[in-house]
Symmetry: C2
């Protein structure tokens, strides 16, 4: 590709609204352009990276025995109604009507469609197991599209679906996809952790893992043990077993004591007012779960984990109760709720049950109680894990390590669906004994366009993108210092002909620009190997620079070729080699 004709220009500055490094760099370097919020065009450089990612995904899916198909984006609303998701998916589902008024969803995912296909194509255990996949444009009307390709409304996904006779078969299909995902992310040059996750609205009862690319801008918090292999996202991570139970200076009391706390409502205000650690205080949260009111108790320095609570309550909708509901059930304004005397189901976090002497709201304006104890002073609907894990606390699995927190970007997700879709959509097969049984399913997604952004988040420096070789738009960037110089121009052109003939993509900067501009653009675009054709061109010498190293080397053309070929064969370019 000749850069003079490249359908893209570079910018020194990114638009002010670009809110992530990857977003800024991909815009500045001419890889993507925004057409509307969360809707992007991939210019030729971006399309090339996307194609490389698609190629890696496709190879690994094929290697894992998955069969590629292509399902339509337009999905009849009836299918989503049959699964119950047409209303449950909410406003994120893009909807449209055709000229006859028939309703369609624009697919954010394809469980319904693929299950309806499997219902027709798989009738016997002899056809099992089968895994199918597609690489396709998906649509999701995000409330807040952000970070460029990271959270878009139209994006490229690989979605795969497995069909098995039973859960044991699903375990194998799931393991094969899990392994393929590890290969894909590793080949793409991404630093990704697999973590246990919550199945959310998509999933069934089985296991689920997220693949998270570590990055400071990530919207996911992942929790991992410093000792054992346990890792999970924050929504899912089991709370640790804190060493110290809740102890207050005043310790236990035979019965809770009412204390006057005028205008003291928040945990911080209360801790300061009483000169106690917030870990001695009891936080009482009132929730509305599908219309019913419940209370949840966690330590003052903890956060309620709504995912765990919702899962326990099997609630479709869970929201913090409004001031009216709080006043109705506690008899007091917000800020003074407490478990003593409270007449709603109370879910108690283990730390609260383990401790005593708790300071809590008194369900009375300007009053708290001191010395409360779970089970003695209030009845307990259930004791369990209802809080977020905390950084630094002990791992509950190995009881040796401590929890570390990282930020990350979800780039893949694998789910065991079980029969969640096959049962309502009646996708069954005949087993060996001739019995009709529902198919056992799994589903497996990768955000291909999100991988592109995550790769930039992980691989850049102040000057621009530093593409991993396997997904770079080109392998080699040929930069003649001056196209006006005959020797430079001719040598550059001869290299530009020779590389593609050897199967190596090259970009030739044949623009009439100053060398400084060319080098800046080259750093910005981030092609792994740069060959500068300068003053020594007449002598057949060039300078070679790797994008991820500071120094460059003077080489003959033949040496440069040798080195480029070595890099293509994935040989490490060691200092000795140079």
């Amino acid at each position: 590709m000749r850069q003079s004709r490249l359908f893209a220009q570079t910018y020194r500055e990114a638009p002010a609204e670009a809110d992530a490094v990857s977003h800024r760099l991909l815009l500045r370097a001419g890889f993507i352009r925004q057409l509307a919020a969360g809707v992007y065009a991939y210019l030729p450089l971006g399309r090339r990276v996307l194609r490389r990612l698609e190629g890696i995904v496709r190879e690994e899916m094929d290697r894992a025995g998955a069969q590629e198909l292509l399902m339509p984006a337009m999905q009849p609303a009836e299918l989503w109604q049959a699964s119950g998701r047409y209303s449950a998916y909410g406003p994120e589902l893009m909807r449209l009507s055709d000229r006859h008024g028939r309703e369609f969803a624009l697919g954010p995912t394809h469980e319904e469609v693929v299950t309806s296909l499997a219902r027709e194509e798989i009738h016997s255990y002899r056809k099992l197991p089968a895994t199918v996949y597609q690489i396709q444009t998906k649509f999701r009307d995000e409330r807040r599209p952000r970070f460029g390709l990271m959270r878009g409304r139209e994006f490229v996904m690989k979605d795969a679906y497995s069909f098995d006779a039973d859960p044991a078969g699903l375990d194998q299909s799931y393991a094969a996809m899990y392994a393929a995902y590890e290969h894909i992310f590793s080949r793409g040059g991404l630093n990704v952790r697999a973590v246990e996750a919550d199945a959310g609205t998509i999933g069934g009862e089985g296991g689920t893992h997220e693949f998270v690319a570590l990055s400071d801008i990530g919207e996911d918090t992942i929790v991992s043990c410093s000792h054992c292999g346990y890792a999970a996202n924050l929504e899912k991570a089991e709370a640790g077993r804190a060493a110290e139970a809740g102890k207050t200076k005043n310790g236990s009391k035979p019965t809770p004591e009412r204390i006057y706390t005028p205008n003291v409502r928040t945990i911080e205000e209360l801790a300061m007012f009483l000169n106690e650690l917030s870990s001695a205080l009891l936080k009482t949260m009132i929730y509305e779960a599908d219309g019913a009111i419940v209370a949840v108790l966690v330590r003052g320095d903890r956060e309620v984990n709504e995912t765990k609570l919702r899962a326990r309550l099997r609630a479709a909708e869970l929201t913090v109760a409004g001031a009216d509901a709080v006043a109705r059930v506690t008899g007091a304004p917000t800020g003074f709720a407490g478990p003593v005397g409270l007449n709603v189901p109370i879910y108690v976090d283990r730390e609260i049950a383990d401790g005593e002497g708790w300071i809590a709201g008194a369900n009375e304006r300007d009053y708290h109680v001191r010395g409360a104890k779970s089970g003695r002073d209030f009845s307990v609907e259930e004791t369990g894990d209802f809080r977020n894990a905390a950084e630094g606390e002990g791992c509950p699995r190995c009881e040796e390590g401590t929890y570390r927190f990282h930020r990350g970007i979800e780039v893949g997700h694998v789910f065991k669906l079980g029969t969640k879709y096959s049962e309502p959509l009646n996708a069954t097969y005949l087993d060996k004994e001739g019995r009709n049984r529902p198919l056992t399913m799994g589903c497996y997604g990768i955000g291909v366009s999100r991988m592109l952004a995550a790769a930039v988040e992980q691989h850049h420096d102040e000057a621009g993108i530093v593409w991993p070789a396997a997904i770079a738009p080109f392998r080699v960037h040929i930069v003649p210092v001056s196209m006006q110089d005959d020797a430079q121009r001719e040598l550059a052109k001869s290299l530009y002909e020779r590389f593609p003939a050897a199967g190596i993509d090259a970009l030739l900067d044949d623009r009439d620009e100053r060398a400084g501009v060319k080098f800046k653009d080259s750093d910005l675009i981030g092609i792994p190997i740069r060959i500068v054709v300068g003053k020594r061109a007449a002598a057949g010498e060039v300078e070679l620079k790797l994008r991820d190293r500071p120094d460059s080397m003077a080489l003959t053309v033949e040496e440069a070729f040798k080195l480029v070929f070595a890099s293509i064969r994935n040989q490490e370019i060691t200092d000795e080699f140079l």
Copy 2:
């Protein structure tokens, strides 16, 4: 791929609604499934063919110097309003609103989007020429989806767009795409004719060609000369110069004569009533063009060509006038309109102007006139070509050949757009003299999924599909007669391992089915080479059959390999070879 696990089943019968051979065969053989009218899923076999077609298209586009990009399906309505097409495109444009009520079109084509991109990326003549393309899913809400993939509502297209400094540059870009199209269709095994076409609502003032795959079910009629190279679709084809002008038995008259024709309204009735040829009669059609009434005169045995008429009138909407309008302007019921005494602009086809003695309606119930002459008995707004060409008439270009008619399927279309989009969307560049000028554009489409269907229309027999090798889902179909037979099973498996290792896709029919069922399915699916592993497996012998030939040959395994490799190298498999 092992056929036992193939995510597809075959059917002996196609659904009753399948209305074309390609539709029936693709459904029966398990290549596609319908999800809604005009909305299809590609099962693994169909996806493989689609990928091969995409590969050919991509290679030829790249070779022609086009740059691949990917634009979003979601297009802001404002862009379509700026070009004026948001209303003009009508109900075929799929529309949706996002959660904030912002309107989007689901792209049936991308002129607006690509022009808005070019406005940002191309600022100088130095960046010209540039051609970009994408292979992408498109949406069009067809009034009557039909023929399976032929006329769908969601389909795969390649669309390309060229940007040039001036019309001379466009001519070159257009020629490069035209040549690439010829390569694409030829490599895909399609018998395609390039014909001159009408630009319709998409195009500008320049030239345009359709690439039409010949097929009896085609909805296009193409007209070609038996002598010179002229070919055009019927909408566009110039009317021939008929040898005989309109002559009636009564010949010319000094003034038209009123004749009583009770209840005689149609051309057929009139010809029979007067015992005249319909070519002696004058057909007067009353049209409403953007609200204005006009009359068009053609010979009684001709059809008005509304595309030509609309182009001449530059009308956005052209419809045959209703009975009320006809009564108002002619003073008579429908069936008695004629030019004599008619007070609306009259457009006269050349054949009418050339002849005389015409018999026409008298604008009076139950009366016609005889002996009318253009220009003498009625005034003429314009004389021109306002009719469809007719089969068998003389070619107006070479004046030697005669017109032949064929049916065909439009699989590609190339347009010279000029500045139709760059001007309203303000996509300009600075020329060498520093002047701001609009980009000169072309656009170039290929219906990739339609090519798939057209290939089946052109390549099938009674037993099933006969895929051209370059786009076949697999190259080789290995069919052991019995998987229960150890020698057969082992030899089949060894072939199945050996072919892919040599880079040749193979499908292994490892099902426990009767040989007859396997052969029927094999014919239906249509893989070019079938290797049957039967009784002589123990001796290392197989039978090889080409799908497009009736006879099969007994060969050793090594001979079979040699022959398969020869076919991969695109060598003609001659009888001598066998």
